[in-house]
Symmetry: C2
Subunit: 240 residues, 2 copies
């Protein structure tokens, strides 16, 4: 399991001439083992998106003992990428295909003055948001739905039906967290959900509009895509 501050990376996935999380981890693995190792993450994260509990797997012939892996890998990685735990898994395990539940959290700094120590991890919205209205709106998203309206129009995936278990909106001091749990999320889905809930919180939309947006299956009906920096891949679970 790996946590990272995504601010200075061009996302998770390896890309030519870009500094990525996957690229940094694979380079560290190469230095440690001499092997060319390709890791498989539980999902990609975009440029600027963070993770607290990203999971990846890889195969190796290295003799490094299991209980040393975390320490030696962290020694090879920048401070902005931290291996939190390492486990041995069966050869059948796949970090992406076996995921049962994913949790993303989006952090909105709703203070009149932003908290400078969250400037990399939260989107600042100055005007006070109506959290109760956001909660009402969020209820419409829970369940099994076609989320076409809440994914990037560029998405090529055919099946846009996903099950959202929970969308919570929690206030904590000047910060508002939007917490989404589901069996999977489409491209930009959490950020578009958050962008739409913010417009509800600003009074620009009625909470019940979320139902109409869902049924319309059209990206243009939903709100703006919230900025990447507020988003963190919080947790993935391999049990229902």
């Amino acid at each position: 399991m790996v946590a990272y501050d995504g601010t200075d990376f061009s996302g998770f996935q390896v890309q030519p001439d870009q500094v990525t999380i996957q690229g940094e981890i694979e380079a560290a693995l190469h230095r440690l083992t001499g092997e060319t190792i390709q890791i498989s993450g539980s999902g990609r994260t975009d440029a600027g998106v963070h993770a607290r509990g990203q999971v990846f797997h890889f195969d190796t012939k290295s003799g490094i003992p299991l209980d040393k892996w975390r320490f030696v890998l962290n020694n090879q990685l920048p401070d902005s990428i931290v291996i939190r735990s390492v486990e041995e898994v069966s050869s059948e395990f796949h970090a992406r295909f076996d995921v049962k539940v994913k949790e993303y959290r989006y952090c909105i700094d709703n203070g009149a003055v932003p908290d400078v120590f969250r400037h990399r991890y939260a989107d600042h919205i100055r005007s006070p948001l109506d959290v109760e209205a956001m909660r009402q709106a969020a209820r419409h998203l829970v369940g099994r739905h076609d989320f076409t309206s809440f994914c990037s129009a560029k998405t090529v995936v055919e099946d846009k039906v996903r099950t959202v278990y929970d969308v919570r909106v929690e206030s904590e001091g000047q910060v508002i967290w939007v917490i989404c749990r589901g069996n999977g999320f489409l491209y930009n889905m959490v950020r578009i959900i958050v962008g739409t809930l913010v417009e509800v919180g600003q009074g620009k939309r009625h909470p019940d509009e979320l139902r109409t947006i869902l049924l319309g299956r059209n990206r243009e009906l939903a709100g703006k895509t919230a900025p990447a920096k507020g988003l963190t891949m919080w947790e993935v679970s391999y049990e229902e």
Copy 2:
């Protein structure tokens, strides 16, 4: 009052060819007023040191209304510098000379695995520290003392007597805060205090050694200077 994430700056004070907090604020003031304005901070902070409540003053003939200053200044500043409040003061006020109490806080991430979201704001020390021993040691520092042993050997200030009102060591989850309040601090003083308390927390020194170190008036008796990134200028007060 200004807060900043000092990670990407060469400290507070203007220096040729360096990006500094003072330089950024003065450039913003110039763009807003057309005037060449020099600000005076309550104190300097070194490269990598942060602030939550740094205070500075300046003179201007600008007609910008008082209640607009915060907003227009923040619009001109990077996200890593945030003006928290603006007040009008008498022409006798001086941000540095009038300070009565300064508070610095040092953040140690004492988790077996560092919290990646504190990687810019805390110094990670893997081995568990004995907080109770650090508290015992800290008590010796409270009061009016010659702090020669706790300031950089390069310090040119003649009078190294300062009054420390309080040194608290507080645990909060995997984080340990060292909170120092005093009427003023010498160059690197808080970081040397923290570096020495850490050595006590690691069992390398006895808590009562702090008394001997103080009396010895010799920088070599104290511990290492703790890294800049864990230090935050927390608050300055103009009342006793």
